[in-house]
Every structure is written in C-alpha cells, then in structure tokens.
Subunit: 169 residues, 2 copies
C-alpha cells in the first residue's frame, strides 16, 4: 500500500496531492493484471477507464495513417514507445473527463499490474472532495494543454513541409 | 452587472457555475476597451491573461507556416475567423493554467469591450474556493481535450496526405 501511494504521488497527474487524497483515489482504483502480449487498450475503441502502471513494461503504438485509405496500415506507419513503471506511466487520463476514443494501442510486453480508475468513480469522488478534484484537474489540464501545444507545432511543421512540396511540384 | 453575469454563464468555460461564483470571478476581472484595429493578443507573445468578449467583433488570425523559412508569411498562409459576443467568445483560457505563447492574433474589427482575468488572480481565487476551481477546470480541461482530439485528427490527415504525395514522387 505504501509503495502504491508513492508510485501515484510520482505521477504528473497526482502530484501535489496529500497522502489522504491518494488513499481516497486508491479506494476507487482496481488492481488489474495483464499477461505478456495482452492488449490493455485498443486504438479506436471508446473507453471510460484510465490506467496507472505498477509493474511490468508496455508498448504504445499509434497509427499515423487514416485507416481504410488506399495505403493499408502496416507496421511502419506506426510509432512505438516502450514504457515501464519507472517512467510513471499513466494512460487515458482524458477518460477521467469524458468517454473518448483511444488514440493508441497499449500492449503488455511483460506480465503487467496496473491500477484502473473509472471516469464516473473519479467524478463522484471529485464532487465530494473539491480540493482533490481541483488539484487533479489542474495537473490534468496542464498535461493536456502541453500535448495540445506539441500537436499544434506538429500541424505547423507538417503544413510547412506540405506547402514546400506543393510549390516544387 | 446582471448582463455581464449572464454573458459569463453562457460561455463553455463558466457554465455550471452559481451566480455567486460568477460574481467572485467578476471581482477578479478587469473591463478593458480596445479601439477598431487594435491588436488584443499577438501571436508568438507570452501571455498570462485570458479575455471574455462583452461587446464588439474581433478577427482571429493564425499562421500556418513556420516563420523565418524560405516562404515568407503572407495573408494566404493564415486562417481567419470572426467572432462576436453572440458566439460567447473567450480567448486564452489556457493562460489560466500557465503562461504560454499565444497561438493566434486577435484584432478588434470594431470598438470592443472585454473582461480580462489574470492567471495568478484566478489560481488564488480557485485555491480559496475549490468548488469554483474544480468546476472551471473541469470545463477548461474538456475544452482543451476536445481541441487536442481535433489537432490529433489534423496531424493524421496531414501525415496521410504527405505519405501519399511522397509515394507519387
């Protein structure tokens, strides 16, 4: 239990929370086990559950091409990252806010243990303890806004490359 | 005052707040006036202030090309949108979380009246009233996450177009 509390406190999502608040979050968390090669999250599916890694290593794969187009999805159209508990890995934080379509596939590379937190349980807890809700959402919205900045930069880079290529044609 | 309260309650950022909470937000807001053609926000500058439109019309322009590259920025490399109070326009909500670089330029098309809220004032108020802080951040993080989804879709579309063009070359 003490180890789990310190793992949660190390994540960007739950930093600045008191031990008591982390305990309350653990009370709505469920420990789940996955075997090597299990799919934990599948890109494209709708989910309402976030995950926090406790043990093991996972691989994150994201397709970069629209499915169903002329060019089929192959391994090389995907980006892969490997993550383990040392990286304070958390997946699907945005599902705490609203059900949403998974933007990547997460596969267990080794046997894995994770905590699951469901959106409705989190929103109920946050509605009972606004300080906890405020602190988690301040962290979450900073995480999401930094991803948005990165995505906007990617869009500008891609648009620039495209405009250069189109001028050359 | 009553009109301002109802304008704030109509925005996606402040919906679900009580009239009392909106009054507290107004107590940290400053009314600012801009003349026709004034620049309200300048793309690329760092800011710590969000704006809510009360009167007038503004134009939002965003460059789509990396500055300083071979192809200079011209009007056609920008996207324009016009916004007025009827659209419950709010700019720079993300500055409530952290200082950040402006991603677009906002120019007054007519004389305009706006409310300004500074990051430090908002975070102080939210730290005194966690329920207010929680509700605003729940709205804000949903707004930002929906923009992130849109940006991710744009990246996938642009990557797909690029990969098709590169195969044809």
């Amino acid at each position: 239990m003490e180890r789990d509390i310190s793992i949660l406190k190390e994540t960007a999502l739950f930093k600045d929370l008191t031990v008591e608040q982390i305990r309350n979050l653990l009370s709505i968390s469920k420990k789940v086990l996955f075997s090597e090669n299990d799919i934990i999250i599948k890109e494209g599916e709708v989910g309402d559950t976030m995950h926090i890694m406790l043990e093991g290593t996972v691989e994150v794969a994201k397709s970069l091409i629209i499915e169903g187009m002329d060019n089929k999805i192959t391994g090389k159209d995907k980006v892969f990252t490997k993550l383990n508990v040392g990286q304070h890995a958390v997946f699907g934080e945005i599902t705490l806010l609203e059900e949403c379509r998974r933007t990547a596939t997460v596969r267990a590379v080794t046997d894995c243990v994770l905590y699951e937190i469901k959106k409705d349980d989190f929103l109920r807890l946050a509605g009972e303890d606004y300080e906890l809700g405020y602190r988690v959402l301040l962290n979450l919205s900073r995480i999401v806004s930094s991803r948005l900045r990165k995505a906007d930069e990617d869009t500008i880079k891609l648009t620039t490359v495209l405009s250069i290529i189109l001028k050359e044609l």
